[in-house]
């Protein structure tokens, strides 16, 4: 890999909340246009890590960070416009989180906040985003109905579309299918595979099998530490660490 391919460069990252260490001395790189999956049991720092990448941890007043996080070689914690960062790095949460607005207004929310008012242009963006998130066919006739009326799987794809509407470069997924049934899960996973052609994807999952199915590389976190990081099929066939093996075979977690 050449350096230009590195999207996120994380060096000796430490994260604390109210003095409790959530991430310990983490160093890793995420490459452009890969699906980077993170597995590990509860409380292993997966979500804290994800939230460090778009500075959502900043909302927690007890949050303290040392080390560097670089996006395209720029330190995002050093004079970086946070709004711009979050526009470039979108996130999809564990539970579908539509705003209590119509489908259209949900997707148009981001572009509007960035100053776009023209209804025609907004419509174009909404359509394009919904198509990319595989939702257009299901909702095109009811864009003005409340987003809460959609099913869980549809809501989750709506949230993906909402991110796409602000033209991000990186998409973070925080256990996006943990509340979904098998069919909806499969649809979201299909969407992930296609999205990686245009976007860099970082996926946190508590479903080990999901990491095996969709990840290009997989990192195993435990108690805030990176235990192992490798090509996904290597992690799942010959893990280098006993603890990784114990986890993916279900000895704990």
């Amino acid at each position: 890999m050449v350096t230009s391919d590195i999207k996120f460069d994380i060096q000796s990252l430490n994260v604390r909340f109210a003095g409790v260490q959530a991430i310990k001395d983490l160093t890793l790189q995420v490459y452009a246009n890969e699906i980077f999956t993170i597995i590990g049991p509860a409380n292993s720092g997966k979500t804290s890590f994800l939230y460090s990448l778009n500075r959502l941890n900043d909302l927690n007043t007890t949050f303290r960070l040392t080390g560097t996080v670089r996006l395209d070689n720029m330190d995002i914690y050093l004079n970086y416009d946070v709004a711009l960062l979050r526009k470039r790095v979108g996130i999809v949460f564990a539970l579908p989180a539509p705003l209590p607005l119509s489908i259209f207004d949900n997707i148009a929310y981001g572009p509007r906040m960035h100053g776009l008012k023209n209804r025609g242009k907004l419509m174009e963006i909404v359509e394009k985003s919904l198509i990319e998130a595989y939702l257009w066919e299901e909702v095109k006739d009811r864009l003005n109905t409340p987003a809460f009326n959609l099913s869980g799987g549809q809501q989750q794809r709506l949230c993906i579309a909402r991110n796409l509407a602000v033209n991000p470069e990186v998409l973070l997924f925080d256990e996006p299918t943990s509340g979904l049934d098998p069919i909806s899960t499969a649809k979201v996973e299909d969407a992930l595979r296609l999205l990686k052609q245009k976007y860099t994807i970082i996926l946190v999952t508590n479903n080990v099998a999901q990491a095996a199915r969709v990840g290009d590389r997989t990192a195993f976190f435990l108690m805030g530490e990176l235990i192992e990081l490798d090509e996904t099929n290597k992690i799942f066939t010959k893990p280098g660490e006993k603890r990784t093996e114990d986890y993916i075979t279900g000895k704990f977690g």
């Binding site: 959502l56 711009l84 209590p100």
Partner: protein
């Protein structure tokens, strides 16, 4: 079963306690309605008092209360909502925010007559507004400030955190997030608080005793620097200070005041329960 009997007795006693609280409310309202309804007429509501207030209407008192309440809300609503926004959205858990919260708690506990003293000291005397609608409105406004702040805080806190996180994660700024993703959903709650504040302001007597209220005025006020009559003070005056007022005039005045205040509260309760049913999160 011993435990079962114990349970029966306990719940009877508790039920009786509740009756003791609620029954008097019903009785008070029933008495006022029963004895006061006869006094209500077009003339009573819309004309000036005559014959040393023993006849005629209570129009100046009704209008005066409306003026005072409007002034109080104009002052307290923006200030209260902004304070709530500061506490919920901007402040961290530090010394300043704790001090502000303590101040609000204490404002809520200051006796209404002390507000009256304060209004007299600062608005009437120090700023030389005199006893006037302006001084009275500001005093009432300060008195209802904690009501509005508390209700607005609750309304803002009940907006799910995910709405903020989602908005911020899409690159919206902090104020944009508050403006577009938080306030619209807190609005009914804030409104409820405002209405409750209005009800409180409309019914209070002590704060306006020395800041605005007039015993009797022959004409309606024409500017914010005029004194005015007000319903609660009027009721106090005709029931304790002026002998020989017919009973139904007193009850009628009480009825108008209670009706005004309770309608506001009822309205607030309805707005709130409607909103609770409608919201999906």
């Amino acid at each position: 079963m011993n435990a079962k009997i114990q349970e029966k007795i306990a719940s009877r006693i508790l039920f009786f306690c509740t009756v003791m609280v609620v029954l008097p409310v019903v009785m008070i309202l029933a008495i006022i309605l029963y004895k006061g309804i006869g006094a209500i007429s077009w003339e009573f509501l819309f004309s000036m008092p005559r014959n040393g207030m023993s006849a005629g209407g209570i129009l100046p008192a009704i209008l005066g209360t409306l003026y005072l309440v409007a002034g109080a809300v104009l002052f307290a609503l923006p200030l209260g909502v902004l304070t709530a926004i500061y506490l919920v959205e901007y402040s961290r858990d530090n010394f300043l925010s704790r001090l502000i919260k303590l101040a609000i708690v204490n404002l809520a506990g200051v006796p209404s007559v002390v507000y009256g003293l304060f209004g007299l000291g600062i608005f009437v005397t120090f700023f030389q507004f005199g006893a006037s609608i302006l001084a009275g409105s500001l005093t009432l406004g300060i008195m209802i400030l904690p009501v509005i702040i508390t209700a607005s805080r609750e309304a803002l806190e009940s907006v799910p955190q995910s709405f903020r996180v989602v908005s911020l994660s899409l690159g919206a700024s902090k104020w944009q997030t508050i403006r577009h993703s938080v306030l619209p959903h807190a609005l009914p709650g804030i409104l409820t608080g405002a209405i409750l504040g209005i009800g409180r302001a409309a019914g209070e007597t002590a704060p306006i005793l020395f800041t605005v209220a007039a015993f009797y005025l022959p004409k309606l006020p024409t500017s914010v620097f005029d004194q005015t009559m007000a319903l609660p003070y009027h009721l106090y005056v005709i029931s304790t200070q002026v002998p020989g007022i017919a009973e139904n005039v007193r009850y009628g005045t009480a009825l108008v005041l209670v009706f005004l205040v309770l309608m506001l509260n009822l309205f607030a309760i309805i707005v709130r329960s409607r909103f609770r049913k409608r919201k999906k999160w």
